[in-house]
C-alpha cells in the first residue's frame, strides 16, 4: 500500500468534482463556493503570517491530498484499537470524513438529544443545523477553515434540547485511513447545547497506516444560557498524519464550557480554539496536554474573547517534549470595553526531555476594560535530577523513575478532568505514548 506522491495538488479540479458529487441545500452550496474562492485567494498560510510564524506547513502544501467522495472502509481491527469503550455512550465513527453508520451506535441516548451525521441531517429535515454551519467558523482569513468549508459534506451534529442532561459522554471518532493516495479528511462538527442542558463530548482524531494524510476539522459550538458543555479533542494521529483543527464556541449567559486538547501524536498538530464569552457570568476552561517526540510539531492557538462582564476564563497547557520536537503556544485574551470584572488566567508549562526539544510561548493580551484581572505565565523545565536520584535510590530503574516523573507532570492536568471514565481512558492512552527522554 505504498503511496504514489508525484502529482501536484489540484484542489480546483477536486472542488469542481466535489461540488457536483456532494449535494448541499442552496445557501450552503453558495457558502461552499465562496469558501473555495477564499481558499484560492489565501493559499496555505506561510510563516510570514504572525499566527503561523513558528508553524511551517510547507510539507502539507506539497502533498497532493485527495478528498474521497465515496465511502471508505476500515478494518475491524483498526477500529477496535481506536474506540474508547470505557466511555460507554453513543459513538459516531467517521472514516475519511464520512459517517460510517454500520460502525456507529446511538442507542441509549435520552429523549431530546440528536446525534447524527451532518450529510444525513442536511438531506432530511435540515432544521436548525443548515442555519448554523459556517456561522461561527467563517472562512475569512482562515485558509484551513476555508478549505474545510469548500469541501463541506459530512460531519457530526449534536443537538441537545433545553434542559436535557446527557449523562454519558458522546464519542465522535474521526479516522483517517489513507490507502494508495494521501487522504484529505475534513469533518465538520456542529454542536448546540440548549439552555440549562448538559453534555460531554469527546472528539477523537486518529489515523491508520503509514501513509501521509491531512485531517482538517472544524467544530462550531453553541452553548446556550446556563448550559454546561465539557469537550475533549484527542489527537491520536499517525506519525505521517497532519492535523489542523479549529474550534469556535460561543457561550451564553452563566454557561460553562470547557475544552481539553489532548495531543498524543501526528507529524504536525495544530489546535485552534476560539471562545466567545457572549453572556454575563460565563465560564470557560481551555486545557491542553501535548506530547512531542521525534520531529513532531504541536501548535496550540487559543483566543478567548471576553465580550461581556463577569466572565472567567482559565487556561492551562502542559507539554512533554522529547527528541527534536517543537511546540508552540499562542494564547490571546481579548477583554472588550464593557467586559468589566473579567478574570482570565493563562499558563503554559513545558517539560523538555532532550536538548533538541523546543517550546515557544506567546501570550497576547488585548485589554480594553479597566476593572479586570488577567494573569499569564509560562515555565519550561527539565526533569529534576535530585528527584530521579531519590527514586532510583528507592530501587526504581532509571526508566521507571523517568516515567513516574513525566507522568506526574501530566497527571496534574488529567486531574482536572471531571469524568472518571474519560480521565482513565486518556491516562491509559497517555501511558502508551509517554516519552521519557534518556
Amino acid at each position: 500500500m505504498s503511496q504514489v506522491v508525484t502529482a501536484a495538488p489540484d484542489y480546483a479540479g477536486q472542488f469542481a468534482a466535489w461540488s457536483s458529487a456532494v449535494p448541499l441545500p442552496a445557501p450552503l452550496a453558495d457558502m461552499r463556493r465562496d469558501a473555495f474562492q477564499s481558499f484560492e485567494q489565501l493559499g496555505f498560510p506561510t510563516t510570514r503570517l504572525e499566527e503561523w510564524r513558528f508553524t511551517n506547513v510547507a510539507p502539507i502544501t506539497k502533498i497532493p491530498f485527495v478528498a474521497p467522495e465515496g465511502a471508505s472502509s476500515l478494518s475491524r481491527e483498526s477500529l477496535d484499537r481506536l474506540q474508547l469503550p470505557q466511555l460507554g455512550g453513543a459513538e459516531l465513527v467517521f472514516v475519511n470524513g464520512r459517517l460510517a453508520p454500520d460502525l456507529s451506535s446511538t442507542t441509549g441516548l435520552p429523549d431530546g438529544v440528536r446525534v447524527a451525521g451532518l450529510a444525513e441531517m442536511l438531506a432530511g429535515q435540515a432544521g436548525a443545523v443548515a442555519g448554523r454551519v459556517g456561522q461561527l467558523a467563517g472562512a475569512a482569513g482562515q485558509a484551513f477553515t476555508a478549505l474545510n468549508t469548500a469541501f463541506l459534506g459530512d460531519g457530526a451534529v449534536v443537538e441537545v434540547d433545553d434542559g436535557v442532561v446527557v449523562e454519558t459522554p458522546i464519542h465522535l471518532l474521526f479516522v483517517t485511513s489513507p490507502d494508495t493516495a494521501p487522504v484529505l479528511s475534513q469533518p465538520r462538527v456542529v454542536v448546540s447545547a440548549g439552555a440549562n442542558s448538559q453534555v460531554c463530548l469527546v472528539e477523537s482524531h486518529a489515523g491508520t497506516g503509514e501513509g501521509a494524510y491531512l485531517s482538517n476539522a472544524v467544530s462550531e459550538m453553541w452553548v446556550a444560557d446556563h448550559a454546561v458543555v465539557d469537550h475533549y479533542v484527542v489527537a491520536r494521529e499517525a506519525d505521517a498524519g497532519y492535523h489542523v483543527g479549529q474550534l469556535v464556541a460561543t457561550l451564553g449567559r452563566a454557561s460553562n464550557f470547557s475544552s481539553h486538547a489532548i495531543t498524543l501524536g501526528g507529524a504536525i498538530v495544530r489546535n485552534e480554539a476560539r471562545v466567545i464569552l457572549g453572556g454575563e457570568g460565563g465560564e470557560c476552561t481551555l486545557n491542553g496536554l501535548y506530547l512531542g517526540t521525534g520531529r513532531q510539531l504541536v501548535d496550540n492557538q487559543t483566543t478567548i474573547d471576553h465580550a461581556t462582564p463577569h466572565c472567567d476564563s482559565h487556561e492551562l497547557y502542559k507539554g512533554i517534549l522529547d527528541g527534536q520536537s517543537r511546540a508552540v503556544f499562542n494564547g490571546k485574551i481579548i477583554v472588550r470595553l464593557d467586559a468589566q470584572k473579567t478574570d482570565a488566567k493563562q499558563s503554559n508549562k513545558a517539560l523538555l526531555l532532550s536538548e533538541g526539544a523546543q517550546v515557544t510561548t506567546k501570550p497576547q493580551l488585548e485589554i480594553f476594560a479597566d476593572d479586570v484581572k488577567c494573569t499569564h505565565g509560562a515555565t519550561v523545565g527539565q526533569l529534576d535530577d535530585e528527584a530521579l536520584f531519590y527514586l532510583r535510590s528507592r530501587a526504581l530503574s532509571e526508566e521507571q523513575a523517568r516515567q513516574l516523573l513525566v507522568h506526574a507532570f501530566a497527571a496534574d492536568l488529567l486531574g482536572h478532568i471531571k469524568v472518571g471514565a474519560i480521565r482513565e481512558q486518556l491516562d491509559a492512552l497517555l501511558l502508551e505514548r509517554l516519552p521519557v527522554g534518556s
Partner: protein
C-alpha cells in the same frame, strides 16, 4: 558487609573525600560525626551512587561486590538504603505507590513474588504503627508539603518497609522534636538485627543516646580523623571538634 578503603571523591573541581577507610560488619552500628562541610553527606552520596560525585581513588565493597560499579537502583536492590538529609519532594507521585513499586523491585531482585494489595497494606500498616505515622501521609505525594519532621519519619518508614541490609542515615535527627526523635529512634532500633548494619550520620549525641552505636568516627576535612567507641560521642559533645581536628588520625 561494607568495606571502604582509601576512598577519594570530588564534586565539580573540588576534592571532598580525601581517603576514607571504614569497615562495617554485619549487625554493627557506626556513627559518623563531624563539622559542617566535612564530607559526611558526600560519603553517604558516593555509597548510594549519587550523580555528580566522581570517585577519584580507593574502593568500596559491599557484600563482596564492587559497590561503585553499580547503578543507584542496583545498590538499592542489593540492600543499600540512604535516608536523605534533605528528602526530595515529588509532586504527583503518590507515597504509597512509590513504596509499593520500590518494595516490589527489591522483592523481585531477591527472587520473591510481588506482594498483592492486601499483603502490602498489612505490611504498611504494621510499619506505620512502628513509626506512629499519620496515615494521611501515605496517600499524599512523596514528601510534598510534609513538615521537616514528617519527611524524616517518612524516610525511616521506607527503611522499615524495604528492610535493607545496610542503612545509611544522614542526619535523620535534624528536624525532629524530642518526642519524634524517640519514636524514630525506636523504629530504627526495632530494625537492628545481626544481619543489618547501619551508618548513622549525626551532629548530636542526643540521637546516639537512643541509637547506641558500636563505633563513632569523626570526619573532618574529608578524612576520618578519629574513631572510638560510643564514649567518643559524649566527649565530642562536651569539647567540640577543635581538639581533634589537628590530631593525627587514630584508626
Amino acid at each position: 558487609m561494607l568495606e571502604v578503603s582509601n576512598l577519594q571523591a570530588s564534586a565539580g573541581q573540588r576534592e571532598i573525600l580525601k581517603g576514607i577507610d571504614l569497615k562495617v560488619n554485619p549487625g554493627e552500628v557506626h556513627a559518623i560525626m563531624g563539622p559542617n562541610g566535612s564530607g559526611k553527606s558526600t560519603l553517604a552520596g558516593v555509597l548510594a551512587g549519587r550523580d555528580g560525585l566522581e570517585v577519584t581513588g580507593g574502593s568500596a565493597t559491599f557484600k563482596e561486590q564492587d559497590l561503585l560499579e553499580l547503578e543507584p537502583e542496583e545498590r538499592a536492590r542489593e540492600g543499600v538504603f540512604l535516608a536523605f538529609q534533605y528528602p526530595v519532594e515529588i509532586p504527583g507521585v503518590n507515597n504509597a505507590y512509590l513504596l509499593k513499586a520500590a518494595l516490589n523491585e527489591v522483592r523481585k531482585h531477591r527472587g520473591e513474588p510481588e506482594l498483592d494489595a492486601m499483603d502490602f497494606m498489612t505490611l504498611i500498616r504494621e510499619r506505620m504503627q512502628l513509626l506512629e505515622m499519620d496515615d494521611t501521609l501515605l496517600n499524599r505525594p512523596v514528601n510534598e508539603g510534609f513538615s521537616g519532621g514528617e519527611k524524616k519519619r517518612n524516610e525511616i518508614f521506607q527503611l522499615a518497609v524495604l528492610e535493607p541490609s545496610l542503612a545509611i542515615l544522614d542526619e535523620t535527627d535534624s528536624g525532629l522534636d524530642i518526642d519524634a526523635l524517640k519514636i524514630v529512634a525506636n523504629g530504627v532500633n526495632a530494625m537492628r538485627s545481626p544481619e543489618r548494619s547501619m551508618v548513622v550520620v549525626t551532629h548530636y549525641q542526643r540521637l546516639l543516646h537512643y541509637i547506641v552505636p558500636d563505633f563513632v568516627h569523626v570526619l573532618s576535612g574529608g578524612r576520618i580523623v578519629k574513631s572510638g567507641g560510643k564514649e567518643l560521642a559524649l566527649e565530642l559533645e562536651e569539647k567540640g571538634y577543635g581538639w581533634i581536628e589537628s590530631a593525627p588520625a587514630v584508626v
